[in-house]
């Protein structure tokens, strides 16, 4: 019935050469009055063309070899049962390091331009010294579509940690208490995002943030940020009920820039690692006192 109506409408439109903008009352999207999440991407659909079935099978079979190698490694580690038990203070365990093209494949680069929600553009590449260079142009210009209120962000994010055969898993940073980054910025402030996506829709957007201040200039800086300083937010809104990061449930790490300053930005990254500092005793930097009823988290 619906398609019949639609066909009739389309025919009518073609006949009379009416602008397609007229058919506004035909809603194809679900209403947004429910608070539960329909999909983890929040409605942002990947518009890239999917490869054909035969191509998927062919590519999949190619990947079988590496996946089996990964899996056998996992099995071996399971039987050996020799995990790292000693985390020496002052020793940085590097998690992501730039240096080769393969290291770039672990990152996803996004900006508001991707979904026609702004005009910022960015890229992640290797510079001539082989370090990661996250650079681009930030623009707070809002597209005139009547829907977008504010614009201007660029973001890089790691892909989800996984086991063999593309099974999703978590990064376990439990024994560590510091995030260590060797970066060279341009004087801007960047936002670090640690995502701890859970199973239920309520936890899909759980993210912990902190600011990465950069000096700017020709010198590299090593920023050591305790995990206790990261504050809890969801969809960019800082939450009233705060809690320390569940360090054994980390899914992604990201860096974003959106400081409302129009112009170019560049952040060179050497490595991102974690460290155990026995002198850092703080568990969580923000107050955890009981708050008035029916006021918080409403």
């Amino acid at each position: 019935m619906y398609s019949l109506v639609l066909n009739a409408l389309v025919r009518h439109i073609n006949k009379n050469k009416i602008n397609t903008k007229c058919i506004k009352y035909l809603k194809t999207s679900a209403s947004l009055d429910a608070f539960w999440e329909r999909d983890p991407k929040g409605g942002y659909i990947d518009t890239r063309e999917k490869p054909s079935k035969t191509q998927i099978v062919r590519e999949g079979l190619k990947e079988l070899k590496t996946e089996i190698a990964l899996w056998s490694q996992e099995v071996k580690e399971h039987f050996e049962f020799d995990p790292n038990m000693i985390f020496r203070p002052g020793e940085t365990d590097i998690v992501w390091q730039f240096g080769s093209q393969d290291s770039l494949n672990e990152w996803v680069v996004t900006s508001d331009k991707d979904h026609n929600e702004g005009y910022s553009s960015c890229s992640l590449a290797l510079n001539k010294h082989g370090k990661g260079l996250f650079a681009g142009e930030l623009s707070t210009r809002v597209p005139k579509d009547g829907r977008i209120k504010r614009a201007g962000y660029c973001n890089i994010k790691t892909i989800r940690a996984r086991k063999s055969f593309k099974r999703e898993t978590f990064l376990n940073w439990g024994p560590y208490n510091m995030l260590v980054m060797k970066v060279r910025g341009d004087g801007r402030s960047y936002m670090l995002n640690i995502t701890t996506k859970g199973f239920f829709d309520l936890t899909w957007n759980d993210t912990y943030h902190f600011v990465l201040y950069t000096r700017g200039g020709p010198y590299w800086q090593i920023s050591r940020i305790p995990f206790s300083k990261f504050f809890f937010a969801s969809k960019g809104r800082v939450q009233d009920r705060q809690s320390p990061i569940p360090l054994n449930k980390i899914t992604n790490f990201g860096i974003s820039v959106g400081d409302k300053i129009n112009g170019s930005f560049s952040l060179e990254i050497d490595y991102i690692g974690v460290e155990f500092d026995p002198n850092h005793k703080e568990e969580f930097a923000y107050e955890m006192y009981r708050m008035p009823k029916y006021i918080v988290a409403t």
Partner: protein
């Protein structure tokens, strides 16, 4: 007869009832079916609309007032708020007024002024919007007004304006303790002070517009890596045969001077730039004097190798091989040795040549012999807005 009389009486009553019924029926649904094209419509108004002055605008939104003002500054902005407050006792259309006032803040240059925001919130009436029972409190009493106040606070947050406790008093008087704007206020007062002075490279709250002052801030910030750094200001006019007449802000430390004096005369040093550094929302171009990176001495020492263990003989341990080296300074980076940093007034080649001459005179005599290579590049991107509209059109077409 009596019966007949009664009958006619009931008939009459029935017919009267039918007339009334039909009248009512057609009064309500009649106009929907009857085509009144040829009939004349009654011109009877019950509202007072016709008796008013037709030339007077009936607009609720008075946004044009803000845009009509010629002289745009804080004084005229506050004057506008005062006019609105004194216009009439009922003070209708607060929400529309506040939204239009918020929109025009930046053009008046008051978007970072706490006093103005407070004056703007003060426009709302006190006491009227305070809920008096739990149902009102729970179901967002006066939602438009509350949302308006939240949007105002959000704009403050976006512009980095931290509210104060007078703001809390004003909001409390307007919305009461259960108001949503109060929640927003309390959140802001919890989080904003935590990040206000967190930057390890603090800057003045008012960034100067003068390029020279900005250049000094930039060089100070870059040189903050070495506390021995000295910031000096040179004039190109002091150098003979200088083409440009401008200033140079240069930063160099004793360590860098020492590195330059120890530099191999046959190896060149490079003047590189321009690079960019942001001082809050201002962009500064800087240049560096760089030498090639020092090779890190590699020592093949394997701690797990047990083939050559020096065994103590009769309690006498043979002396272990000592290899000492000075700890590399912060200026010796992986991708080069930074020898000096500068910002010039024109960022031109000639001013950089003058900078090298000034450095030579100011404690780096080695620069007279070391070959200096100028590897300058043009600014990476031209500042152009020509294709901005084109881009916008392409997005709208999608």
């Amino acid at each position: 007869m009596l019966n007949g009389h009664n009958l006619s009486k009931t008939m009459l009553r029935k017919s009267v009832l039918m007339i009334i019924f039909n009248y009512c029926k057609y009064r309500t649904i009649g106009p929907k079916f009857i085509n009144l094209n040829h009939a004349k419509r009654r011109n009877l108004h019950i509202s007072s609309i016709c008796f008013g002055d037709p030339t007077k605008s009936k607009d609720i939104v008075i946004y044009e007032n803000f845009e009509a003002i010629k002289e745009k500054n804080k004084k005229t902005y506050l004057e506008m708020l005062k006019i609105f407050g004194e216009r009439d006792v009922h003070r209708r259309g607060h929400v529309e007024f506040i939204y239009s006032a918020l929109k025009n803040m930046e053009s008046f240059g008051v978007h970072k002024d706490l006093e103005v925001y407070k004056a703007l919130v003060d426009v709302l009436p006190k006491g009227k919007f305070i809920p008096t029972n739990i149902f009102q409190a729970e179901f967002m009493h006066y939602p438009k007004q509350q949302q308006c106040a939240i949007d105002l606070l959000e704009q403050m947050e976006d512009n980095g304006v931290m509210p104060d406790y007078e703001m809390e008093d004003i909001l409390l008087n307007i919305f009461g303790r259960r108001g949503y704007p109060l929640r927003k206020f309390w959140r802001m007062m919890y989080w904003m002070p935590k990040f206000k002075n967190l930057s390890p490279w603090p800057l003045p709250s008012e960034i100067p517009n003068d390029i020279f002052e900005l250049a000094k801030l930039a060089v100070e910030r870059i040189s903050s890596i070495d506390i021995q750094s000295k910031i000096s200001v040179y004039q190109t006019a002091d150098i003979q045969d200088a083409v440009e007449d401008t200033w140079i802000v240069s930063g160099q430390s004793i360590t860098q001077q020492k590195l330059l004096s120890e530099h191999n005369v046959k190896q060149p040093v490079y003047v590189e730039g321009s690079f960019q550094i942001w001082i809050k929302n201002k962009l500064v171009n800087y240049f560096i004097l760089r030498a090639d990176p020092k090779p890190i001495p590699k020592e093949d020492y394997d701690p797990d190798d047990v083939s050559h263990i020096n065994v103590p003989l009769f309690g006498f341990t043979p002396p272990s091989k000592k290899s000492l080296m000075t700890r590399p300074s912060v200026h010796e980076q992986e991708d080069g040795v930074v020898l000096a940093v500068c910002v010039t007034g024109t960022s031109g080649r000639d001013s950089l040549l003058s900078w090298i001459r000034h450095l030579e005179a100011d404690g780096n005599p080695a620069l007279a012999e070391i070959p200096v290579v100028f590897t300058l590049r043009a600014p990476e991107k031209e500042i152009a807005t020509a294709d901005a509209n084109e881009e916008e059109n392409s997005i709208e077409k999608m």
